[in-house]
Symmetry: C2
Subunit: 151 residues, 2 copies
DNA sequence: TATAATTCGGACAAAAAACTCTTTAAGGAG
DNA sequence: CTCCTTAAAGAGTTTTTTGTCCGAATTATA
């Protein structure tokens, strides 16, 4: 029912970066504070996303992370294939090696349509759209960030 | 996208027990062999299901585990609430503390209908029905069991 | 009663996931 | 060139999950 923490952090961070001005590097420290997640751990995740071409990173002053050209259109499926492994959609819900109509477990034919729904949903949601949603102010990226002073 | 191994083992074992003659205790060793899972670990899981009233256990000769009276009608939701915790359906997919329309993350309104679909599916599937499906021979409980002939 | 078969319970071990620390390299500004 | 800021890299730690081991309790049967 859930994603790994790593995936959750990755998605949150990417959406946050997508809400910022393109081409302006965002500091890992700022992302971590905004999302209220451990900075050193987040850094590892972002580094990994860099290696896989989703982000660009810059060191030194004015450094930070920003979405690589064109990656605003990346889908959550793309992101999750990096964080959860390339065939995270190919697993049987009961843990069998293979999930297919030919080797179906007793849940398979009920689960399959739901799974397909999830897959198409993930293929449909892009970072850009999610960022736009956040920018409307109607949606939250993190719960009660340290700087949520209602003054 | 996946369940914990513990949940997978629990569901597999319960379905297997449900396929066996009611009232006849099934040996942990036999279940483990049939499902090809570690016996000592499975025993822990079954003990836990006993404590929560889903199974009855008997020690000594002719001992083993069998479904408690009426529990053939248990749903997967019931099982998973024991193995994954009582509010495993209440979590936000992005990891926020609360999942609700009022505190929605950017995925919430897309995810919610899918989640509801999963929940109703889990509420609908009973051990009895899954066991029947397995007994037709069309579905697998485990991949390549040591002995591919149940009975 | 003695014995073998089984679960029970707790401690233990290994592996994976989550998280931290430290050092190094790179880049911008004075 | 020097200083400061930042990410990169890698080793190390902690926590959770998964899995093992063993001795004690229980029960049928001979
Ligand atoms: S075989 Fe189990 S979900 Fe497809
Ligand atoms: S708030 Fe994130 S899924 Fe409901």
């Amino acid at each position: 029912m859930v994603l790994s923490r790593t995936s959750q952090y990755a998605i949150q961070a990417l959406i946050y970066i997508a809400t910022q001005a393109p081409g302006e590097p965002v500091l890992n420290r700022d992302i971590a504070e905004r999302l209220n997640v451990p900075a050193a751990y987040l850094a590892k995740i972002l580094q990994n996303l860099c290696k896989h071409g989703l982000l660009d990173s810059f060191r030194g002053r004015l450094g930070g992370f920003c979405l690589r050209e064109g990656m605003h259109k990346s889908t959550l499926m793309h992101v999750l294939q990096l964080t959860e492994g390339p065939d995270f959609t190919k697993n049987c819900i009961l843990g069998l090696k293979e999930c297919s109509d030919e080797t179906a477990c007793p849940m398979h034919f009920k689960w399959k349509p739901v799974k397909n729904k999830i897959i198409s949903m993930l293929n449909f949601m892009t970072l850009d759209e999610l960022a736009k949603a956040v920018l409307t102010g109607k949606y939250r990226l993190a719960d009660l960030p340290a700087s949520a002073i209602p003054s």
